[in-house]
């Protein structure tokens, strides 16, 4: 339980710092870079190395690579839908979320056993 609380606090703090950086930077397209900052990864990898070791963390990073590819497609899709169909940002980012899930799991399924 303590581990989960530490994860929550560290993750929340790192994500908040990157989000605040995104708030203070202009132009908006530059600030957007911080929406894809490795905040969750920084929090998780540090704790994982401490608890499980470097080899385990490297294995997680291999999967992260696949999910990051899915993130590129997801963010590009969200940007296109917002520009083309002009739906609200919350609706668009939630409706396009299956793109990230589908591509992540698809790539993971294809790469399974090769990483």
């Amino acid at each position: 339980m303590t581990d989960l609380i530490v994860r929550f606090l560290v993750g929340g703090a790192i994500v908040s710092v990157f989000a605040m950086l995104g708030d203070v930077l202009r132009p908006k397209s530059f600030a957007g870079l911080f929406s894809a900052a490795p905040s969750v990864a920084l929090a998780t990898v540090t704790l994982t190395i401490h608890k499980e070791g470097k080899a385990y963390a490297a294995q997680e990073a291999a999967s992260m690579l696949l999910a990051a590819v899915a993130f590129i497609v997801y963010a590009a899709a969200a940007s296109y839908v917002l520009r083309r169909y002009r739906c609200s940002a919350l609706f668009t980012t939630i409706v396009t979320m299956p793109v990230w899930i589908g591509i992540s799991l698809g790539l993971w399924w294809v790469a399974l056993g090769r990483l």
């Binding site: 930077l25 911080f34 894809a36 963390a57 992260m64 609200s88």
Partner: protein, 159 residues
């Protein structure tokens, strides 16, 4: 070209800071729980979970809308255009995330962990900023302005 405005922090409400903290914390916990129950391979996917992207895009939209409302305009379209630019930036940041993950994967078993994490974070920043500059120079960003056609898009991309 890139500006740093501390005063922008005042436009974010305490509830919005709290929401981002909770989303970030929850995503980190989720990644840990999934890795524990299903192994590092599946849990690792959640290290690149878009935890704050929906939150950020929504905030960008509402702040832009609010700003226009204060001067008597609707601002709905403008807010969504701003969120679209934020999302385009996130796509470039995600390319940096690929570089971050690749470096961690390759270097972590071989070198000092703290150095590798620092190098991977720098790689994320370098790749993201370099791509943003290329897009800014219209190397592959021409379409954004052409398709929206909008004066609004040009103005937003400069802010």
């Amino acid at each position: 070209m890139v500006e740093f405005r501390i005063s922008a922090l005042k436009s974010t409400r305490p509830s919005e800071y709290f929401a981002r903290f909770v989303f970030g914390g929850a995503a980190t916990v989720l990644a840990g729980i999934i890795a524990k129950h299903y192994g590092a391979a599946l849990g690792g996917l959640f290290l690149a979970f878009p935890a704050i992207f929906p939150c950020s895009a929504t905030l960008v939209e509402s702040h832009e809308k609010e700003r226009k409302r204060r001067i008597g305009h609707d601002g709905t379209h403008r807010g969504r255009m701003a969120a679209s630019l934020d999302a385009a930036g996130a796509a470039l940041g995600a390319v940096g995330l690929v570089a971050f993950a690749a470096l961690l994967w390759y270097l972590l078993p071989r070198y000092n962990a703290a150095l590798v994490i620092a190098a991977a974070t720098l790689a994320w920043a370098a790749v993201s900023v370099a791509l943003w500059h290329l897009r800014r120079k219209r190397v592959f960003g021409l379409r954004v302005v052409q398709r929206t056609g909008a004066h609004a898009a040009k103005q937003l991309s400069n802010r």
